[in-house]
Symmetry: C2
Subunit: 163 residues, 2 copies
Amino acid sequence: MAGIPIYQTAICPEWIDYNGHLQDAYYALIISKATDALMDRVGLDAAYRARTACTLYTVEMHLHFLQEVKQADTAVVNVRLLGVDQKRMHTAFEIERAGHPEVAATAEVMLLHVHQEAHRVRSAPFPPEVAARLAELAAASARLAAAGPGSRRIELRAQRTAS
Amino acid sequence: MAGIPIYQTAICPEWIDYNGHLQDAYYALIISKATDALMDRVGLDAAYRARTACTLYTVEMHLHFLQEVKQADTAVVNVRLLGVDQKRMHTAFEIERAGHPEVAATAEVMLLHVHQEAHRVRSAPFPPEVAARLAELAAASARLAAAGPGSRRIELRAQRTAS
């Protein structure tokens, strides 16, 4: 594993599309659920959210689809925390299929910590205990290599093969 | 509208998450459905897929989340075709909420035309009639401006405001 194990899930039948594999948006749903698991891990769980009215908003998400995921697969997700500041987390996720060596998808996600007031939402700094856990996770992540492509500007590049 | 209208949808109640708005992955699902509508528009519809065993695979997707979408909103999607080659389409989508001027999300998506054989999938050139429609769409798109951010490398940048 190139990252820190954070989440795994079976593939729901309704996530399979007319192409016979996991529809693109459901890779994103698996990443979203892995983000929830990461929030639990660092202390931004449901109790924290209820107590503080603070939560994470997704700002950006960039997915690379590398292998087809089928109904019978189990998706296994690992994570690295690429960067963190007072209010933001820059995360990298990898989706693997249990029993297969290739990475099936990668995703980078930028998350913003916010306070949800009645009629407006404001960004807010992480509390010290969460910031400490994030710093530990960033340090652990720095020792881990990426197993697939990272975020970059999407553009048509010349292809290497003629097939 | 900054792009060509391609799709619109109500927001299903199960797409709303614990933050009280459209969960990130369901923005991606709306983009996925808009891609299906685009496929219908250019001749890559269900009949084409059944006849040829060819379809589009999503290679990359990069989303920017700009505004909260709520249960009562209607999502309106427009599209621009930023580039096309023999087998690939580089598309840009914008999600708006009917009655609101701000763009709620942008997405760039790279799509690959493939032939699904029994045990392998190979990239395949677009047929001439589809290529012609794509060329028309790219030409129409070139006259339209982006209404929000495009794909770029995700990274922690210094923020302009202190709030």
